[in-house]
Symmetry: C2
Subunit: 228 residues, 2 copies
């Protein structure tokens, strides 16, 4: 446990509302580790042992079928809280989590999380708010999958990555195209074709760097209606 970890934790938006002593208790109960790319934080189907909070880095949330096909449900970054529901409900993990780039992770034992939730009002409030934000992310993804084509999903994803509202922009994909394709619910081949079809709308670039000529135009194509 290092002083910088406390600072990292305090600066996370998800925990910004938490009073200092709640943060201290979290850190006391848990342990912080720096893990390399590829490390597995938890595995789908296993009983929930730890809550994970990302202090720095990025983690991929994976869903798998019985025959080992896997998909990316979401990409989580610094400030995100992983697999809280499994821990809270004391149920098996619904997803696996794999470290994408070297990351600093706080592990909090499940029992301690459940205790804090019951006893610490600020903690359960912060958790409820954070779960509310995640709910919206998941609902958006479901609407995406059911209502939009794969190129529209890509367009929407790029728009969401870009900082501004209109004009030109350059965005960096957080992961390689295989992972992005899975996150968007398509194959890498199809992602390539989606990129190709967006060229007509002024989307270019190569590798992880993507250039967008006109964000407003792309947003229009993507059916982006309800961002908030």
């Amino acid at each position: 446990m290092r002083v910088t970890d406390i600072d990292l934790l305090r600066r996370l938006p998800a925990l910004a509302e938490l009073p200092r002593d709640a943060i201290d208790r979290l850190l006391d109960a848990g342990m912080v580790q720096t893990l390399p790319r590829g490390a597995i934080l938890c595995e789908q189907g296993q009983p929930a042992e730890y809550l994970h909070i990302i202090l720095r880095g990025r983690v991929i949330l994976l869903g798998q079928t019985a025959d080992q096909t896997e998909t990316v449900v979401d990409l989580f970054e610094a400030g995100d809280i992983l697999v809280a529901p499994a821990v809270m409900l004391n149920l098996p993990y619904l997803m696996s989590a794999r470290v994408a780039i070297e990351s600093r992770i706080l592990f909090v034992p499940a029992e301690a999380v459940r205790r804090m939730l019951q006893r610490d009002a600020a903690f359960s409030y912060a958790m409820a708010m954070q779960l509310a934000r995640y709910w919206r992310r998941l609902v958006r993804q479901i609407k995406d999958l059911k209502l939009r084509s794969s190129s529209e999903r890509l367009a929407g994803y790029l728009v969401a990555l870009a900082p501004g509202v209109d004009g030109a922009a350059t965005v960096e994909l957080p992961e390689d195209r295989k992972v992005v394709a899975a996150r968007l619910g398509m194959t890498p081949e199809n992602l390539s074709r989606a990129f190709a079809s967006l060229r007509a709308l002024g989307v270019g670039g190569q590798g992880r760097s993507v250039t967008i000529e006109d964000l407003a135009r792309l947003r229009g194509y993507s059916q982006f209606d309800d961002e908030a």
Copy 2:
């Protein structure tokens, strides 16, 4: 506000942990209405005004695109809490909600909900737990959409509706096939074909009533791995 409403509210699993006075405050702050099939509780894109709690009945959560295509994100029943995240975060609704069968609904003004969340530890705890359950529902649906075929999704849906674990069963679809199809992310025509393909696995019936010869067999086909 009737005595029976208080009873209804107390018996909801989502609020079972709430102490009596928190329930009283919820009812004091809100109003209860019985609404007919077709009533709209909230509309996607509108600012969040009320939290809705279903005391009795069923509500369909709909997502829409700009061109009015719509899909069913989920079906909520007695005990479910609607659109809490929009209310909590004071953001526009991501979905619309339409009453499916005559329902008794508690409306709680958004401001009152946010106040209670901050002041009442039991309420924020109950809300966090309920959001944790919803998170898992949504994650399951995303995994379904990304990893399984439409017939597999139907098989899994039927298995989840059935009470037992193996043997024969008869289940009632909660809504007509158009709605079920949208919930499962397919067209009604394709749902028909999915039912037809499941006939080989012992799935029969007509209308809303579906008969299953062997739940274990259907579960095997559906790739049902991680239910909990």
